[in-house]
């Protein structure tokens, strides 16, 4: 199995926000879901996942609550705040701009 590629700088916030936009999730779940949904192409290192979660929480884009979870015990579940939803849209737009620009460059260069 090839090693999952490193995340592009700055995309981690986008991935986290997008992942919990569907439904609130705990840290482990977020890591798993990113890996699964990307077809094992992307993997988030724990060393950056948790600091990122805490940072986003401090910025008020996500909030966390200790709740019963699918892990069979209470876990810290992260969900999107209204501001987080707006931030997600902004990040999506800028990602679209970036990726189409990169695609254009690759096709035409």
């Amino acid at each position: 199995m090839p090693k999952p590629s490193d995340l592009l700088q700055g995309t981690l916030d986008l991935l986290i926000l997008r992942t919990i936009a569907r439904s609130p999730l705990h840290g482990w779940g977020i890591a798993k879901r990113i890996q699964t949904l990307s077809g094992d192409e992307l993997s988030v290192g724990q060393g950056s996942l948790y600091p990122a979660l805490h940072r986003l929480e401090n910025q008020g884009w996500i909030r966390a609550k200790w709740e019963e979870s699918d892990l069979g015990r209470p876990a810290k579940i992260y969900s999107l705040t209204p501001q987080g939803r707006k931030q997600l849209e902004r990040e999506l737009q800028s990602w679209d701009r970036l990726s189409s620009a990169v695609r254009l460059l690759i096709q035409n260069a």
Binding site: G27, A31, Q46, G47, P51, E57, N58, L71
Partner: protein
């Protein structure tokens, strides 16, 4: 809302720090458990799976630290943590902490104390409106621009009328008058002014009015303005004083108004009690009509926007015009103007600047010392710091913590310094020379505290930064393995050596400056003044001039007084003189001419100090007779006028001639042109200041040139207080309305005359002593640190057969090398800097080889002695232990 939530969350995480940490721990634990479960599912054993999970998760502590950092309140926690930690570290090594705090405290304390004095003297603006427009004016001879003289009343009036650059000019002079009829007779310091001075200085009376222009006209009614002090102390704050009359020198003046205690002019002059028009003064009033007598000092207010240079140019033109118009009196004279503040601060300025630079140097030395202590500690702590970096502390974090530590030290030191300064200012205040203005306003105040705080913070940055940077080298492994040794040899040792050399050279500069002042002070105090002040008591008696208005009365009084003193067994040896050497009111310098010599060219004149003395004066003062004779009772008004001259006068103006029998023309105004026969030559006397070479002096018999009072001098083996009582009693028995003031033993009065020199010498000497101590501590610290680092090396040397002497030479040699380097640099700097203080020195040159040599020897001996303790310790090293060590 978002902001609100963020703040709430941050506040919560600050308050519930441990809960937040526990939750983080739990969250991470869950993640690891999930990883473990996955691995077990893949077929691993429980332990294997757990180990793999932890490995996969990666470094846990740095992750946690990063999470904490996102909380954004971390710096507060870090700060309190640093503070705790810093305090613990400081308490762990009380010796280091005490030395460090004491060192900073001494540096900052000396600085704050001196700054308090400077703050009171140099910094506050003068208490007059737009004081930068104020200038002082003097008459100076064109040939000798440093000889300042007064302006005659006529010239003053001309300048006032003709100039176009000043909005106002006022004149003033001082005279002591006797106030009677309000309790015991006292002498009041009277300012003789022209009335313009009050609006010029914006004086607002407490009651009544100040002098009006009409009061300054000739023939106006006599009115006086009294001070708040006099009003309170002599007139019981009576509300009806204005309009009443008071008696000054037995003449009646109507009180026009009362001025508040805050009004003084000039700044720094003795307390003033009464202001009258100069024309009403019993002495100066008549002299005002004599255009030869320069009796006024003048102050002017420049018109707005007129620069000093333009005003000076205009005054040059004006004085040239006056010199043409009145060649007899004004030729060769010109006017010099100076910003007023310069004349106020003038003579203490250099001394204060020297003191300020001295304390600045002292603070630098203190900082270098602390830096040294901290660098030594930082290198020994290199291992601890390396471990902390390995555990996830960022470099910035470490720097921050070290800075917190040194800031803590600096603040504690600053606090100690402020305590020291308060104590020092309180102790020093009575020793301050009285001419330093506004002594009462010297205190450690807000601005001074701010200064101290700034200093301690600057010091913290200065000496906190270097160790912080050295302590975080990039190569962690070396630090962890070899700890202090490596860094100690690389960055640290060079820096420490540099600091010690700098410290020693600064100490050399201070020691040389202190040494020069000490030497010149010793020379001044041991100088032979030309008379013997021991067992001599002086007292001032002054006669009210309206009651005692004729020379006959003055002469009669003096004869009577001397006769009464003579009648008392213990007081046989008494005389009267005016003025005395080192008189606080200054000396009288009069022009003279020598009969038989060709007249001097216009604009040139010869002058000498003048004293009128009773016959016994020379015997009482033990001034030796060189040739001719002393005065005697026969030199009375009915006999030929005689004079005695000093040796310097004889040598300077009668070179290779015998002055005895020659005639000189001179005299106290108005008898300026009296010819007198020289009957004797006496030894030189230092009459202006102990530090000033004796100049020419001419003496006349009091009976032939009486004054309205004088100084009684009595040589007696009785105690000074019983002599004083006897003099008082003798004076009161003649006239109970006569004040006797300034009764003092002569040696005391001499001591007063050098109080300024004594003060600055004392201060600078204490600074250099402090500097020496600090430098000794510095070199001791460096050498003992490096000796302890070299234990292993020394052990090997001893094991290989090195003798005690070799080891001693090794350690002492290091200290001696540092000391010699510092000495070399310091002596060069001292040589360059001490010439700036040449005018403060007496009898020694700024590059005095004795002082330089003594300083070099003292410093070298102290430095090597400071190294002897670590050298002894190195000698006791057991080679076995040393080799096993580490």
């Amino acid at each position: 809302m978002r902001i609100f939530r963020i703040i709430q969350r941050r506040a919560r995480s600050l308050v519930h720090r441990s809960r937040a940490d526990a939750e983080l721990q739990r969250e991470i634990e869950i993640h690891i458990q999930q990883l473990t479960k996955e691995a077990v599912a893949a077929g691993m054993t429980e332990t294997e799976a757990r180990a793999r999970a932890v490995r996969n998760f990666g470094p846990i502590d740095p992750t946690k630290e990063k999470c904490r950092d996102t909380r954004g309140v971390n710096w507060i926690q870090d700060f309190t943590q640093d503070l705790h930690y810093g305090l613990r570290i400081l308490l762990d090594s009380p010796g280091f902490t005490a030395i460090a705090i004491l060192t900073i405290g001494l540096g900052i304390g000396a600085n704050t104390a001196i700054f308090s004095i400077v703050d009171a003297v140099l910094l506050p603006s003068l208490p007059y409106r737009h004081s930068n427009q104020l200038v002082a004016m003097f008459n100076v001879p064109v040939k000798r621009p440093d000889a300042i003289a007064g302006i005659s009343y006529r010239d003053f009036t001309e300048y006032r009328k003709q100039n176009g650059v000043f909005s106002e000019i006022a004149g003033n002079t001082f005279h002591d008058l006797t106030l009677t009829g309000a309790g015991e007779p006292i002498i009041v310091n009277t300012a003789d002014v022209t009335p313009e001075i009050f609006p010029l200085l914006n004086a607002k009376p407490l009651a009544g009015r100040t002098l009006l222009p009409e009061d300054g006209k000739p023939g106006a009614a006599a009115v006086a303005v009294v001070s708040e002090n006099l009003w309170r102390s002599r007139f019981g704050s009576s509300s009806g004083l204005v309009g009443k009359s008071i008696a000054l020198d037995m003449r009646s003046f109507t009180v026009a108004g009362i001025l508040p205690a805050s009004f003084r002019y000039p700044e720094g002059a003795p307390r003033q009690d009464v202001w009258i028009s100069v024309l009403q003064d019993p002495l100066f009033g008549p002299l005002a009509s004599q255009p030869r007598v320069g009796l006024l000092g003048a102050i002017g207010r420049l018109k707005p926007g007129v620069p000093l240079a333009k005003a000076q140019a205009e005054m040059d033109t004006l004085s040239a015009r006056l010199a043409k118009e009145f060649p007899d009196e004004d030729s060769g004279l010109t006017i010099r103007i100076k910003p007023y503040w310069e004349t106020v601060i003038g003579n203490v300025r250099l001394a204060l600047l020297v003191l300020l630079s001295a304390v600045g140097l002292l603070l630098l030395i203190a900082c270098a010392n602390i830096a040294n202590l901290l660098v030594s500690r930082a290198t020994t702590r290199a291992r601890e710091i390396a471990v902390r970096i390995a555990l996830g502390a960022s470099r910035a974090r470490i720097v921050r913590q070290l800075l917190t530590e040194s800031a803590l030290l600096a603040l504690l030191g600053g606090f100690a310094g402020i305590l020291l300064a308060v104590f020092a200012v309180r102790t020093l205040r009575p020793f301050l020379p009285s001419e330093i203005v506004q002594i009462s306003s010297i205190h450690v105040g807000g601005s001074v505290l701010a200064f101290a705080l700034l200093l301690s913070l600057a010091a913290a940055l200065a000496f906190g930064l270097a160790p912080a940077l050295i302590a975080t080298p990039s190569n962690l492994q070396i630090n962890i393995k070899e700890g202090s040794e490596r860094t100690g040899k690389r960055g640290g040792q060079h820096l420490r050596n540099f600091l010690v050399i700098a410290e020693i050279s600064l100490a050399v500069v201070l020691l040389v400056a202190g040494g020069l002042l000490l030497r010149s002070f010793a020379l001044v105090t041991s100088v032979n003044p030309g008379f013997d002040p021991q067992n001599v008591t002086e007292a001032e008696v002054s006669l009210p001039q309206f009651q005692y208005s004729t020379p006959q009365q003055w002469r009669a009084f003096s004869n009577q007084l001397l006769a009464r003193l003579d009648a008392q067994p213990g007081l046989r040896n008494s005389a009267l003189a005016a003025p005395l050497p080192m008189d606080r009111q200054g000396q009288a310098n009069l022009e003279f001419s020598i009969v038989g010599n060709a007249p001097l060219p216009r604009g040139k004149s010869t002058s000498a100090n003048y004293q009128t003395v009773s016959p016994e004066y020379f015997r009482v003062m033990r001034i030796p007779l060189m040739s001719g004779r002393f005065f005697s009772e026969q030199d009375s008004p009915s006999h030929p006028k005689v004079a005695i001259i000093s040796e310097t006068l004889a040598q300077r103006y009668f070179p290779n001639q015998d002055p005895i029998g020659r005639q000189m023309r001179f005299g106290f105004p108005p008898d300026t042109n009296v010819s007198r026969e020289i009957v004797g030559v006496v030894g030189d006397v230092r009459d202006v200041a102990l530090s000033q070479k004796p100049g020419p002096i001419m003496y006349v018999p009091f009976a032939q040139a009486p004054l309205y009072g004088g100084e009684v001098v009595v040589r007696s083996s009785l105690s000074a207080s019983s002599v004083a009582a006897a003099i008082r009693q003798a004076v009161y028995s003649i006239d109970k309305n006569l004040p006797v003031t300034d009764v003092e033993s002569f040696p005391n009065a001499l001591g007063q005359s050098i109080s300024r020199e004594r003060f600055r010498t004392f201060l600078l000497a204490s600074f250099s002593a402090l500097a020496l101590i600090l430098a000794a501590i510095g070199i001791f610290g460096v050498v003992s640190y490096s000796a302890s680092q070299r234990r292993q090396e020394i052990g090997i040397r001893v094991a290989l057969g090195a003798q005690r002497a070799d080891v001693l030479r090794l350690i002492l040699g290091q200290g001696a090398k540092l000391a010699l380097l510092g000495l070399g640099v310091g002596i060069v700097f001292a040589f360059l800097l001490t010439r700036l203080m040449a005018s403060m020195l007496y009898g020694v040159s700024p590059s005095d080889p004795v002082t330089f040599g003594a300083v070099a020897i003292i410093l070298f001996v102290v430095a090597v002695t400071a190294c002897y303790i670590p050298a002894r310790r190195a000698l006791r090293v057991d080679p076995l232990v040393a080799l096993r060590y580490q």
